[in-house]
């Protein structure tokens, strides 16, 4: 069953069409990668799904409910979480506070100004547990803005997964990392998305073919193919768009 489905989604900026009619079904539990050359509109597509941009036309349903043009916070509350390509954290707060903020809503605190955080053992334990998962336990009190790049990326992931969302969208999670850092991050992604649906934009083809169950190829605002990694590799249209970029192995 499709947990997320896009029907003929379009997005224009002024007269420029960035997304030109994307239809896509994401099956519950799958690991789906979106690839494509620079400027294809991958990040824009993420922004449309997560509510940062309004769609120009078309509709998006998450768990059978229309979410196009809903504000991001409503979509997030439904169980759709995302990370950002450029690190996007609460930079003046500690690592622990970053994660705790990501947990509030899912743990039913809402806009409470009557719960004292020091007393919320369950919440604080949950935050520590997430820190453990992303390997930042010893940096809990560290100001997040001063973390090393790879650690900030880990925190970025942590904020996305903290709430226990069913659908997780990661925008280039290993961009700018060294090979070994990227390997660790892939392991981390595998671990934390277990039993969940994952949509990922990534440029590193090794990682894409390693992680994804299915791959969609986005070129100039259109999806030219959605298929299993093997078939995508063999697809002549994809090879044309990706001349020389697909590993032959």
């Amino acid at each position: 069953m499709a947990i997320l489905s896009l029907v003929d989604v379009k997005k224009n900026f002024g007269i420029t069409e960035i997304i030109r009619g994307v239809s896509l079904d994401i099956v519950e539990g799958e690991k789906h990668a979106i690839i494509g050359p620079n400027g294809a509109g991958k990040s824009t597509l993420f922004h449309l799904i997560s509510g940062r941009y309004n769609v120009t036309a078309g509709n998006i349903r998450f768990k059978e409910e229309h979410i196009e043009n809903k504000p991001p916070y409503e979509i997030a509350r439904m169980g759709l979480a995302r990370s950002f390509q450029v690190t996007n954290i609460f930079s003046r707060m500690s690592v622990f506070e970053n994660i705790r903020c990501a947990l509030f809503w899912s743990m039913d605190y809402g806009y409470s100004f009557w719960h004292l955080l020091g007393r919320q053992t369950e919440l604080n334990d949950a935050a520590m547990h997430v820190l453990e998962q992303i390997g930042l336990t010893d940096k809990a009190k560290f100001p997040s803005g001063e973390l090393a790049y790879a650690q900030q990326r880990a925190l970025e992931l942590g904020i996305a997964i903290a709430s226990g969302a069913e659908l997780i969208m990661l925008d280039e999670p290993v961009a700018g990392m060294s090979h070994s850092e990227a390997q660790n991050t892939v392991e981390l992604i595998r671990k934390i998305t277990e039993g969940k649906t994952l949509i990922m934009v990534e440029h590193d083809m090794n990682i894409v073919f390693d992680v994804a169950d299915r791959i969609s190829v986005l070129v100039y605002g259109e999806i030219i193919a959605t298929d299993s990694p093997e078939n995508i590799r063999a697809n002549p249209k994809v090879q044309e768009a990706y001349l020389g970029e697909v590993p032959s192995a």
Partner: protein, 410 residues
């Protein structure tokens, strides 16, 4: 519980508040302490907006002033026995009205932070200040309105005719307000205010409407500003348009900024320092506002996190036990710096005096003689040069004191 962990600080705070009149019991001291208590609440409420929530307001006096006006009206109602209750509750009336004003104005102004919010706050501030002069039956025009705090039921025999009695009322209210404002920072709403300040966009992706988070901080801030206004009404028994106009809004911004935004204690420091300067310096020099302006600009330029930020900068050196490495360089830079400031102030004051002999500190200076000027300028120049030279040394000492020890790095 976070509060309990720091309970000794809170007890110390309360004891200080209540004990001060035993040490300083002159009429002037009591009056200054009253002002400090009011300023602390007001500045902390401002910090809820700017420091905690990232909303730069140029119209915060609106909530202070409206709370104050309602409080004076309440005093008048008590005086004419339309209502009968102890004046102890007056600040609450100010607070409730500040909250209502916050709910109303916040409902449309918290949509955006940044420049848009700043401009709306400025516009509303000017709008209400100007309107208050039009609606003179409520605001009393230029003269303002006044009441009398001695009419309500007495409280264990106290009728609050004395300033010292009001000081205790103000101190208790200031303590309660401070505790609640601190507790607010320890709640999900308070923490999300920080998150929205840092990154409103990401806050939306963890399930929070930035606007609603700002709105809650805004209302809470209005509540406490109103309480401060109520305390003002109790202390002075009158209030005028001046208490809700741009000048008052500017003053609270100065307090919070000089004290240090983002640190809970910052605005308290700012409130104390500025109120003391206001009350004490104004006795010695009519130019104190000029000094205040200079001090403010220097703070913005060189201590962007205020006095509190300056102290907190030393946390790392303190933890590492390296503070003693800094003492000597601080003294070496500090002495010429103070000397420079003393000379500059002397020059400024001298150019403004009309007396034959100008008394300055323990000195008697002759403003008419060019030698005085040359000597002062010379000392100032030399001191400035010494500060510049020794700053390098201070910088080095700072680097060493904060350097990461070798073993820790590995």
């Amino acid at each position: 519980m976070a509060l309990l962990k720091n309970s000794s600080i809170w007890i110390a705070f309360l004891v200080t508040l209540l004990g001060l009149p035993l040490v300083f019991d002159s009429i002037l001291a009591i009056s200054i302490m009253n002002q400090i208590a009011i300023a602390i609440v007001f500045a902390l409420s401002y910090n809820m907006l700017l420091g905690q929530g990232g909303m730069l307001s140029f119209g915060h006096a609106v909530y202070f002033g409206l709370g104050g006006f309602l409080s004076v009206h309440a005093l008048i109602l008590i005086e004419f026995e339309t209502m009968v209750f102890s004046i102890l509750w007056i600040p609450l009336i100010g607070g409730v009205f500040g909250l209502l004003a916050g709910v109303f104005i916040g409902s449309f102004s918290t949509h955006k932070a940044g420049t848009v919010f700043a401009m709306i706050s400025l516009g509303i501030g000017e709008l209400i200040a100007a309107s208050s002069l039009i609606f003179s039956s409520f605001f009393g025009g230029e003269a303002g309105i006044s009441g009398d705090r001695t009419f309500g039921p007495t409280f264990f025999g106290f009728d609050f005719a004395q300033n010292i009695e009001i000081y205790y009322v103000a101190a208790v209210w200031a303590f309660i307000a401070t505790v609640f404002m601190y507790l607010f920072t320890q709640t999900p709403a308070g923490r999300m205010a920080n998150a929205v300040r840092d990154n409103p966009e990401r806050a939306e992706f963890v399930g929070y409407s930035s606007r609603k988070v700002r709105f809650i901080s805004f209302c809470a801030s209005g509540l406490f500003a109103g309480i401060a206004g109520g305390l003002f009404a109790l202390n002075y028994e009158f209030i005028t348009e001046e208490n809700l106009n741009a000048a008052t809004s500017g003053r609270v911004l100065l307090m919070a900024y000089i004290g240090g935004l983002g640190y809970f204690i910052g605005p308290i420091i700012g409130a104390v320092v500025l109120t003391l300067m206001n009350s004490l310096l104004s006795n010695y020099s009519e130019l104190w506002m000029l000094y205040l302006g200079i001090m403010f600009l220097l703070t913005v330029m060189f201590l962007p996190r205020g006095f509190a930020g300056f102290f907190m900068m030393h946390q790392l050196a303190w933890i590492r036990g390296n503070m003693k490495m800094l003492i000597k360089p601080y003294i070496i830079t500090g002495i010429p710096a103070v000397l420079f400031a003393v000379c500059v102030i002397a020059l400024i004051e001298m150019s403004h005096t009309e007396d034959e002999v100008f008394h300055y500190l323990a000195l008697e200076l002759n403003p008419a003689s060019p030698i005085t000027w040359i000597v002062l300028l010379g000392i100032a120049g030399g001191a400035f040069y010494a500060v510049k030279r020794s700053l390098l040394q201070l910088n080095d000492a700072w680097e060493t004191a904060n350097a990461i020890p070798k073993e820790e790095e590995a």
